[in-house]
């Protein structure tokens, strides 16, 4: 019975680990740990430089390891670390996307020219509005902990896309979420609204994690395993009650949809996007969306494809709700960051259309859409951070009136990005919508695609409204000015705009790459 002194067990064998495949993730995790040590042992004055150098080197190094591996990666992909990680073509596509987006977001985070001292508070522990708080506003420092936190979040996202079982997926979900909750509350300006957004995100995120975990437990009860492939096998031929399977699936999906800010699980999105420091909003909007949909694609395709008849109708409703909420509520917004938040909810609905088409075209289309949306939204938030007045960022739409007369370059760039989000031809957004919707039609989801087209037409209206406001209104006399960004922010925005342009003109290579393989398990 309760023998805590076990009989001798057979020794275990050290596993075969494909280090070359997971090296990008290991580099990021290792660099994040070194970043923590830098925080511990490097003097305050040189911390920023050390952290920026380390983080950039880490992402570039991870990118190099990634490129070296991709060139001769096996066609069918592989699983490693006791089958907890599946490095296959979709995962590699998402990793590449995440690394590039992460680089852009890191550049925005590291920038200290747009806001003196960076977008982050010098000491988050000081209460907002106190004398000490005013003193630290004047000082130029920032919490350099954001750099290791960003690296942790990024590695969590990469693991989330490649997790082959639900337990790994859950831990990865937390690894990517925890740093984000934290960084949301670190804005230098408007600290109360920033902290409020962090608390909201954290509480709702914790609830979503609980849903995910409950679903995981029920699915384990159903299949006797947390591996996606085992769940799929059990669903194909198991005598166990389907209540466990679908109850578990439903709860699991709630957790996933929350992270992807889909439809009725979106409540946190506008507040958090608005309150967070804009570089973090950019990081969150671009990278979390990619990671979350990577996870959704894998769970739906690997784990639940055989039962898709039963759950598909429910996710149709979710997709429609997401598109309608995003498009309609987006119309009523007066704050540019909130408007982009509702836009991201609408886009989540469009992405779900692709994810629901459980066929190779749907997979490659969704992957491509994620790539395009990520870069567009990254650059858009980068541009938002440049329009400022004496109180920091001027995010109210009325302040953007006549911006083209003050700064034609920024106005044109932003207009281009908005057109890409609206899905106007010659931008990447058009191609993305095209491939996703055509995959939906091929899979017999014509009604859903029609609703999606109507929703994108409605959404296009509020994008165009901003463009009209920027180009055809008179600027207010005391309106905001456009800050001339330093190298980092310029590079990030340029990266986003260039990718949006290139993928709009010559999308073939990326589409080919997105369609080269399926999930391994």
């Amino acid at each position: 019975m309760l023998a805590l002194q076990p009989p001798p067990q057979a020794p275990i064998d050290a596993p075969q680990i494909e280090y070359s495949a997971i090296l990008p993730v290991l580099i990021l995790l290792g660099a994040a740990c070194i970043g923590v040590l830098v925080e511990a042992f490097v003097s305050k004055a040189s911390r920023w430089a050390a952290q920026v150098t380390l983080s950039l080197l880490a992402i570039l190094g991870a990118g190099l390891a990634f490129v070296l591996y991709v060139t001769d990666s096996p066609e069918r992909g592989l699983t490693t670390l006791y089958r907890t990680i599946a490095v296959d073509r979709p995962a590699l596509f998402l990793w590449g996307t995440l690394l590039a987006l992460g680089l852009g977001a890191l550049l925005l985070i590291a920038d200290r020219t747009v806001e003196r001292g960076g977008a982050f508070v010098a000491q988050a522990g000081i209460r907002p509005g106190t004398v000490q708080d005013r003193a630290q506003m004047a000082s130029g420092g920032m919490q350099t902990e954001v750099f290791p936190l960003t690296l942790f979040a990024l590695s969590g996202m990469m693991i989330f896309c490649a997790a082959n079982d639900l337990l790994t997926m859950f831990i990865a979900l937390e690894v990517l979420s925890l740093p984000l909750y934290l960084m949301c509350g670190l804005a230098r300006r408007r600290r109360l609204i920033s902290q409020e957004s962090a608390v909201k995100y954290f509480l709702l995120g914790a609830f979503a994690s609980a849903f995910f975990l409950y679903g995981l437990a029920l699915l384990y009860g159903y299949a006797g395993s947390v591996k996606l492939a085992d769940i799929a096998n059990a669903a194909a031929g198991s005598a166990a009650s389907d209540t466990l399977l679908f109850g578990g699936f439903g709860l699991l999906v709630v957790g996933l949809m929350f992270k992807a800010s889909v439809g009725p699980f979106h409540a946190w999105t506008p507040d958090v996007y608005q309150g967070s420091p804009t570089p973090i909003t950019a990081f969150m909007a671009a990278c979390t969306k990619v990671a979350a949909f990577g996870g959704i694609l894998r769970v739906l395709t690997v784990g639940f494809e055989s039962t898709s008849w039963e759950w598909r109708g429910v996710l149709w409703v979710v997709a429609v709700a997401s598109m309608v909420i995003g498009a309609v509520l987006g119309l009523t917004q007066t704050d540019i960051k909130r408007m982009l938040a509702y836009s991201s909810i609408a886009h989540a609905g469009f992405l779900l259309v692709g994810a629901l088409a459980l066929r190779p075209e749907g997979l490659s289309g969704t992957l491509f859409y994620l790539l395009t949306y990520g870069f567009t939204t990254l650059a858009a938030f980068g541009a938002v951070s440049l329009v400022r007045d004496s109180n920091g960022e001027a995010t109210h739409l009325s302040q953007w009136a006549g911006l083209a007369k003050r700064s034609p370059v920024l106005a044109w760039v932003f207009a281009f990005l908005l057109l890409a989000m609206a899905g106007i031809p010659l931008t990447s957004g058009f191609i993305g919508k095209f491939v996703v919707f055509s995959a939906g039609i091929q899979d017999g989801m014509a009604p859903l695609v029609v609703i999606a087209l109507v929703a994108s037409a409605v959404a296009a209206f509020f994008y165009l409204r901003v463009i009209v406001l920027m180009f055809f209104s008179d600027p207010a006399p005391d309106g905001p000015t456009v800050t001339v960004p330093g190298t980092f922010t310029t590079a990030a925005i340029t990266l986003g705009v260039l990718v949006t342009l290139v993928l709009g003109l010559v999308p073939a290579f990326a589409l080919d790459w997105a369609g080269t393989g399926t999930f391994a398990f």
Partner: protein, 281 residues
């Protein structure tokens, strides 16, 4: 929670005979767990609520051990009763022991709907899962605790099948430490040394350069409430802790005011008794 425990107990009864010891421990632990849970909900003081929760969790932990899941039992006690409950208490202390939520509803009818939907979801889950669990074939204790070593089997699992999630947990722990430091700690790097503080005292930045005199202790009294005498025989008022003096006056303040008529008495014409005066506690 206790529902599932009952369920497990029932399932166990069908599979194998429950030993007397197990039955006795169940009938001791289950009421304790249930009582703790009810106490947690109905206790007025938040700290008492937390303590009742500790009782429930401890009972559950012991119950797990009785069910031959010693690792789960230990983790329940170490993590939940130890760490999580400590965090609960800390949060209560941070928020303020006696502070209560604002009762203003921002969205009208929000509470009612939240209650209805919450109870609905709970009912759906409990009935669904309870119904579904009957069709689940348990692995069985013998197979699960093969070799009589529950903990060792878990060790094997953690270091083989779940090696990567386990190592990834350390990233979570680091993030937690970073977060606690970033949010809860302010760097007071300009702390004065002892020397500087002493200089400041004599420069007159403090009320007096020396510490306050201690209280007088006489042969007749060993109380700190007795003041010390100065060399000239006069009383040194600052030798008695201000709190002792203040307590008396604070406690009597209301009485004095009532006697002096500063506080209006009950109004004979009022329909309701006047609200008790807020403030002095």
């Amino acid at each position: 929670m206790s529902n599932s425990a009952m369920l497990l107990a029932q399932a166990g009864a069908e599979v194998a005979k429950v030993s007397t010891g197990e039955a006795i421990s169940f009938w001791i632990l289950a009421p304790l767990a249930l009582g703790g849970a009810l106490g947690m909900i109905f206790a007025r003081n938040a700290v008492h609520s937390a303590m009742f929760l500790v009782l429930t969790m401890l009972s559950l932990g012991v119950m797990y051990m009785v069910q031959q899941a010693p690792f789960l039992g230990f983790v329940q006690i170490i993590v939940y009763t130890g760490a999580i409950m400590m965090l609960f208490l800390f949060v209560l202390m941070l928020v303020g022991r006696d502070s209560s939520d604002s009762v203003v509803e921002v969205l009208r009818g929000q509470r009612v709907w939240a209650a209805i939907l919450g109870i609905g979801l709970a009912g759906l889950l409990v009935t669904g899962v309870a119904e579904a669990l009957t069709s689940v074939r348990p692995v069985g204790l013998a197979e699960q605790n093969a070799g009589g070593a529950n903990v060792a089997n878990i060790g094997r699992s953690v270091f083989t099948d779940y090696l990567f999630p386990f190592e990834l947990t350390s990233a979570l722990l680091i993030t937690a430490a970073l977060g606690a430091m970033v949010l809860g700690y302010t760097d007071k790097s300009k702390r004065r040394t002892q020397r500087e503080t002493a200089d400041a005292r004599f420069r007159g930045e403090h009320d007096r350069p020396s510490p306050l005199p201690g209280p007088g202790v006489y042969a007749t009294a060993n109380s700190v409430a007795v003041p010390a005498l100065l060399p000239d025989g006069s009383i040194a008022p600052e030798s008695v802790s201000a709190i002792i003096e203040a307590t008396a006056s604070r406690e009597l303040a209301t009485d004095i005011e009532t006697v002096a008529g500063a506080i209006p008495g009950p109004d004979a014409h009022a329909l309701k008794p006047a609200a008790a005066k807020e403030g002095d506690k």
